[in-house]
């Protein structure tokens, strides 16, 4: 037992924990439990609630649109996670390598973290609008057709870009801290041997940063599934051809455009389960690959 535990009083401790626990139970656990419950009902606005058992789940199970939504979300999340980590890592490394102006580079790179997602979406819409966008002209001049209102993959790419862009700052903040923590001597040892920059990043820094990177994978996964709603809502509304109809958007629409609370709750539950399963997988992988071995 740690010797930090200098106070006894169980009642006192309970009082201290009460606000957090109360809010957690009432506003987090209870609604989640309710979502599980509602998912077993046919419930919607103006309709009497009716117990339907697993029907909602069966409906989703049989809905190819929903299947594709699950697939899209998982692929989207994977790309957001991988893209964010790769770009942020490289950026962080560049910043770590320069010896002047680090502070300014850092701030210039991390500020999108402060940017509200809704703003990010609107700005991207403005910049990449297929006909009106600022960059549309230059991009089309390169011989690429910008047509993401009609072209699913392109729309997916645009949402992906904005999602990654918005998340870089958050990642860089963690990575720079982790990279700075790597003892100089390790860098110098590599330098004495003439190990190249990129080789050093990949073979020395990345493995040592694995705990931070795994943490970020998890945070980014949560972000990709839950934090990207505004982008889809404002940029593509899930289209075209459902190409960007990620679970969170689909769920919102089911609940608050179509007011099918039963099905929407079922979608909440599925979303929760998908993310929970991914978390478990990621924790497993963490255990396997982190050199800390724990």
């Amino acid at each position: 037992m740690s010797t930090r535990e200098i106070f006894d009083g169980r009642l006192e401790a309970a009082l201290l924990l009460a606000p957090t626990l109360l809010v957690s139970v009432v506003f987090l656990y209870y609604p989640t439990a309710l979502a599980f419950r509602t998912s077993l009902f046919d419930s919607g606005f103006g309709r009497a609630e009716e117990f339907v058992g697993l029907e909602n789940y069966l409906t989703l199970l049989g809905s190819s649109a929903y299947h594709s939504s699950v697939v899209i979300s998982v692929v989207f999340a994977a790309l957001v996670v991988a893209g964010t980590i790769a770009v942020s890592l490289y950026l962080t490394f560049l910043i770590h390598e320069v010896d002047t102006g680090q502070g300014w580079y850092l701030i210039s790179v991390i500020w999108p973290y402060a940017l509200p997602p809704a703003v990010a979406a609107l700005v991207f819409l403005f910049v990449f609008h297929p006909t009106l966008g600022v960059l549309t002209g230059p991009i089309e001049a390169l011989g690429l057709e910008v047509d993401w209102f009609n072209d699913g993959p392109q729309a997916f790419l645009v949402v992906l870009l904005v999602a990654i862009w918005k998340q870089i700052g958050y990642n860089v903040i963690f990575m720079i801290a982790a990279m700075k923590n790597i003892p100089d001597a390790l860098t110098e040892t590599a330098e004495l041997d003439g190990v190249g920059r990129l080789h050093r990043l990949v073979s020395v820094y990345v493995p040592i940063m694995t705990p931070t990177l795994f943490f970020l994978v998890i945070i980014n996964t949560i972000y990709a599934f839950f934090g990207t709603f505004a982008f889809v809502d404002l940029l593509t509304s899930g289209g075209p051809a459902n190409a960007t109809n990620v679970l969170i958007f689909d769920l919102y629409r089911e609940g608050f455009s179509f007011f099918n609370f039963g099905v929407a709750s079922t979608k909440s539950v599925v979303l929760f389960l998908v993310v929970a399963v991914l978390m478990v997988i990621q924790f497993r992988l963490t255990e396997e690959y982190s050199y800390y071995g724990a």
Binding site: S2, P19, S24, E97, V98, L115
Partner: protein, 301 residues
């Protein structure tokens, strides 16, 4: 070396980096041509990252705000008019104020109750507290989207719809804050804590006079993170707030588009709003970048 000194030293390099001063970095041993390359790459990437918001700023100074090509990207002369219109005519000032109120209440509330919880988890000898901690941590997996439908009904049943309560109270329990604070408390040397115990210093005095002052940096850092988080909330206010008077800036931003049904689209107003919305969190981040980065550094342990 005391633990504090140690922690200090660890952050020294970091602090130097964030400070923005051009200090020499012993770690970076680079031939000059090589580092020119690195700088070039950085400029390019920073440019790419910053470009969209530069566009937003430029557009917010134009009359119609329709910019369809790069050469159009010269600042216009309507900045004052646009911002005035957004803030006054469209009541964006009101939305900003609501956002601010919400964020401040959330931040302060979170800090207070999380300090209490972390205090109990670290400094009290009570059974099952690891379980309690896990219980709190697990809420990371229950973001608003997983539960917003029942939450919506719950809030309405409580009669909190459309109110400040609705967009603050549900956010008060914070796994992240408790987690970061716990990590920080654990990094305070045991001997300092034991010194207090030897004197029989009580929990209230200990919290207010030892813990809080010793956690200033982390508290500020966490506040920034939480502020940004609260300020950027979109989905929940969109769902739960439907009166204009109580709406927050994130949602209110759409209203600046003008008469959408009527085919108007005031990009310049939208961008003015966007820039306005970005300002508070950005200002906080720049102002408090040191505690912010240090907090992240702690968190990763």
């Amino acid at each position: 070396m005391s633990a504090i000194q140690y922690t200090k030293r660890r952050f020294e390099a970091l602090r130097r980096a964030i400070g923005g001063d051009d200090e020499e970095e012993s770690a970076a041993l680079t031939g000059s041509e090589e580092s020119v390359g690195v700088h070039l790459q950085l400029w390019l990437l920073v440019g790419m990252v910053a470009f969209p918001i530069l566009v937003a700023v430029v557009v917010s100074t134009k009359q119609q705000g329709i910019v369809t090509s790069l050469p159009d990207l010269v600042p216009g002369t309507y900045a004052v008019e646009n911002y005035r219109e957004a803030i006054v005519d469209y009541g964006f000032g009101r939305f900003m104020w609501n956002s601010l109120l919400m964020s401040v209440v959330v931040v302060v509330g979170k800090l207070v109750i999380s300090v209490l919880a972390a205090m109990a988890i670290v400094y009290y000898r009570v059974p099952y507290k690891d379980l309690v901690f896990l219980f709190v941590l697990f809420t990371l997996l229950l973001p608003v989207p997983v539960r917003f439908i029942p939450l919506f009904q719950l809030i309405n049943d409580l009669g909190w719809g459309n109110s400040l309560l609705a967009i603050t109270v549900p956010y008060l329990a914070s796994a992240t804050t408790v987690f970061i604070l716990r990590q920080h408390f654990l990094s305070i040397p045991t001997s300092i804590v034991e010194t207090a115990k030897l004197d029989g210093v009580g929990p209230v005095k200990f919290t207010l006079q030892v813990l809080v002052p010793m956690s200033k940096g982390v508290l500020v850092g966490v506040s920034i993170i939480m502020f940004v988080y609260a300020w950027n909330q979109y989905l929940w206010p969109l769902v739960i707030i439907d009166s204009e008077a109580n709406q927050v800036a994130q949602v209110g931003l759409q209203l600046l588009q003008g008469d959408v049904q009527g085919g108007q689209l005031s990009w310049s107003l939208v961008m003015a709003g966007s820039v306005l919305t970005l300002l508070p969190p950005l200002a906080l981040m720049v102002l408090f970048r040191k505690p912010l980065l240090e907090t992240f550094a702690i968190q990763q342990k």
